[in-house]
């Protein structure tokens, strides 16, 4: 089972659409996929038309009074399941913060999923907290959608430093540009000449497209209603690239080298 987290410290960068669309593409290939909506806002749950509610709340889940498998909901698509959001996810930080192994709380909870799914995609809430550290602990890779703007790159830099500083090098970092608007000079410039420190950014970028925004109206993955759009094709390419990165895991990650470049 591979765990991929769609994560960014910033909000509104396309985390949910990444988790939902990549999850859908993986399921179409026949893999058994779970999308875990860890964001209390419940956007992924909304996209899949599932009520953002877990019976007993997240507390019972984390205390393992309730099995994770019991609260999973099937989506409208074959092989694709959802662990819905719950408003109590906003207290997740407090729930995890007890005992010695507070950074490994999620790992225990996720253990039973191993035999049931090939991929788990976690849609994280924007922040950098104990929850994030738990997510880093369970994930094989972090998918980091990044808008090509100065502030976004600065945030990405913070994440890279945080990861190195806390010795979280087990988790692969897969940042990619998202919501790219080629009409904007800055976007074009950053895309053509990304900072040296970010040479390991994925090649694929997701364009800014109204079709992606319409996911909120359609409440369905992009490929189900606009399969031939640029954005849908970009997501397919992204998924292919992510898969190839996951298999190349043994090689030394290029971002392991520290760079002092500032943004």
């Amino acid at each position: 089972m591979k765990v991929l987290a769609s994560y960014n410290i910033k909000g509104g960068v396309g985390k949910t659409s990444t988790a939902v669309n990549l999850g859908y593409l993986a399921a179409c290939e026949g893999a058994r996929v779970l999308v875990w909506d860890l964001d209390p806002q419940g956007a992924a749950s909304f996209y899949f038309r599932v009520k953002p509610k877990i019976k007993g709340g997240s507390k019972r889940l984390l205390r393992r009074k309730r099995q994770l498998l019991e609260v999973i909901k099937g989506t409208d698509y074959r092989n694709l399941d959802l662990l819905p959001a719950d408003f109590s996810n906003r207290h997740l930080e407090l729930l995890l913060d007890h005992g010695k192994k507070r950074r490994r709380g999620l790992r225990k909870v996720m253990k039973p999923l191993r035999d049931h799914y090939d991929y788990v995609l976690i849609d994280c809430a924007p922040s950098i907290s104990l929850v994030s550290e738990n997510v880093f602990d369970v994930s094989d890779a972090l998918l980091v959608p990044t808008i090509p703007t100065t502030l976004s790159l600065r945030t990405l830099n913070t994440l890279i430093d945080f990861r190195l500083k806390h010795g979280l090098t087990d988790v692969q970092l897969l940042p990619f540009f998202s919501m790219v608007d080629r009409r904007k000079n800055l976007h074009r410039l950053i895309l053509e000449r990304p900072p040296k420190k970010l040479s390991f950014m994925l090649k694929t970028f997701i364009p800014f497209a109204s079709e992606v925004e319409k996911m909120g109206v359609r409440r369905a993955p992009l490929a189900t209603y606009a399969g031939h759009s640029h954005a849908a094709i970009a997501f397919e390419q992204l998924w292919t690239e992510v898969k190839s990165c996951l298999t190349k895991r043994h090689n030394k990650p290029p971002w392991a080298a520290k760079s002092n470049e500032n943004f």
Partner: protein
């Protein structure tokens, strides 16, 4: 699950009518409507069915097909894969994924063959909630069974299949109640596979290589032996077409097992049949085993090739490719020879005469002294004697014994195993199984030792042949050398493991079991006869 998944639709209700009535009662939407040809696949010996599954290929209009592997008890527990049409044969032809993963341990090396097919008009309905989210699926099918010639047979069978969505059990229960109470559907339990197979004139599980006979220990030995031998002949003949058409390697294997069991029974059941017939058929089946041997050997090398590949040091692995080609060519030649052997007059006469001999009712008066004795006594004597021979031979084996001694012990164990299997039904149920389990562990060890011994010699011989043909690159010779060295190491490990396995087989509990079943019973029988 408190509700059924499968329903049969009454004959007065059409699929369209049912859909309309359902749409009036609940929020549902027609998802897809399509006509497909559905073909069920299984191995020749029904391994998929025996494991409690049905494997179905649904052909779409374009050249693609979907494969559905579902559990017969829980039809909703199914794995699906997409493949190209009519491309199904072996496990390696399947796309990687859940279907292949599950089938791997079920079918192993066997080929998948179409066993039945039907034409279906399938309508898929989605039951929706307030958010237009699918909370259950209802698959409606109108199936026209096809017979072996591909023509429609009998009336259409209409079924409904409720597929719940995870986490929405309440909705599925509600829909189930609606179907049975309001729409008058009857729960159905049999999978469409059963009806489709029946239409094609077959029955699931109609072939098995097991000797599932019911013999009475008081039967005359010659009559009982003929029943066993006739069953073995049936198995041989059932596997013949598979060998000729080169479907998979198991046909030849099962054919040969039946030949060996026949030979073993002819050898062990002394003085049961007249000497002349016994000698003639013994020679005949010896010949049959000889002509089938080389083809089976190459099959084994090719089946083991993946293991060989893994045994060779990684940098040398690419050197094994010429060996594979060599084996493949050799296999083709051996199979051609084998087929001509099966077409020969000698083979046909042997089988026809053997069948005629077995069909003859046992004569009232006959000279062989064991012919009219109860089969129970004859089998007891032979099995007890073989067991003692195996124990004695095993005891003498030490580190200095030649490989030949181990080979002889292996043959004795095989004979013992065949006798136990052939006549298991005259003993209390389950008793023989325990003994076979104990014997099997020793046999596996002896078998592996012998195989490794033979394989390392033969592979060396092959490397010489490849070299003589001028097709050998240094890498190939090095790879084979490396493989042979590894096989020899493994052989030594097996040899070391022998003592432990033998001790286990010769332990007093097993000995007491053998004695109670075959020796004490035999003595009791002789004592009863004595006065």
């Amino acid at each position: 699950m408190s509700w059924a998944c499968q329903y049969s639709i009454p004959s007065n209700l059409s699929v369209g009518g049912l859909t309309q009535r359902l749409q009036r009662l609940v929020a549902c939407r027609i998802d897809t409507q399509q006509s497909t040809k559905r073909t069920f696949y299984d191995t020749y010996d029904w391994r998929v069915y025996a494991s409690g599954h049905a494997l179905e290929e649904q052909c779409m209009n374009n050249n693609t097909a979907t494969l559905h592997l579902r559990s017969l008890n829980e039809p909703n527990a199914q794995a699906v894969a997409t493949t190209s049409r009519n491309s199904l044969r072996f496990l390696q032809d399947l796309p990687t994924g859940a279907v292949r993963r599950q089938l791997a341990s079920i079918i192993e090396m066997r080929a998948l063959l179409p066993v039945a097919s039907m034409r279906s008009r399938m309508t898929s309905l989605r039951l929706l909630d307030n958010n237009q989210k699918t909370v259950a699926y209802l698959e409606l099918e109108e199936n026209h069974m096809l017979n072996a010639a591909g023509h429609t047979q009998g009336e259409a069978i209409r079924r409904a299949c409720l597929v719940p969505v995870r986490g929405y059990a309440t909705s599925a229960r509600r829909l189930s109640r609606l179907l049975t109470k309001d729409l008058g559907l009857e729960p159905a339990d049999a999978d469409p596979l059963i009806a489709a197979v029946a239409a094609s004139g077959r029955r699931p599980g109609d072939y098995s290589s097991k000797l599932d006979l019911h013999l009475d220990p008081s039967m005359r030995a010659d009559a009982a032996s003929k029943i066993v031998l006739r069953r073995l002949l049936d198995i041989m003949q059932a596997n013949e077409h598979g060998i000729r058409n080169n479907i998979d390697t198991e046909f030849l294997h099962e054919f040969r097992v039946a030949v060996r069991r026949t030979r073993s029974a002819l050898m062990q059941l002394k003085n049961v049949f007249p000497d002349r017939s016994q000698n003639r058929y013994r020679r005949g089946f010896q010949w049959l085993q000889q002509i089938t041997g080389p083809a089976r050997d190459t099959d084994v090398y090719l089946l083991k090739f993946a293991d060989y590949h893994a045994l060779v040091a990684p940098p040398l692995r690419s050197g094994l490719a010429p060996l594979r080609n060599f084996l493949q060519q050799r296999r083709n030649i051996q199979y051609r020879r084998l087929t001509s052997g099966l077409d020969s007059a000698r083979y046909n006469k042997l089988i026809a005469d053997w069948r005629a001999f077995l069909d003859q009712p046992p004569p009232k008066r006959t000279t062989p002294k064991n012919a009219t004795r109860p089969i129970g006594d004859v089998a007891n004597e032979r099995i007890w004697r073989l067991y003692r021979r195996a124990i004695k031979a095993g005891r003498t084996i030490d580190d200095n014994s030649p490989a030949q001694d181990l080979h002889e012990l292996r043959k004795t164990c095989k004979k013992l195993r065949y006798m136990l299997e052939c006549f298991h039904s005259i003993y209390p149920t389950g008793e023989i199984k325990k003994l076979i389990r104990a014997l099997k562990q020793l046999q596996d060890n002896l078998g592996d030792f012998n195989d490794l011994q033979v394989q390392s010699e033969v592979l060396q011989q092959f490397s010489k042949e490849i070299y003589a043909k001028g097709r050998a690159e240094p890498e190939t010779l090095m790879a084979i050398g490396n493989l042979v060295a590894t096989l020899r190491q493994q052989r030594e490990l097996e040899r070391q493991a022998f003592y432990g396995r033998y001790e286990k087989f010769a332990r007093p509990v097993v000995a007491a079991h053998f004695r109670r079943l075959f020796h004490d019973a035999a003595e009791g029988a002789t004592n009863n006869q004595a006065p």
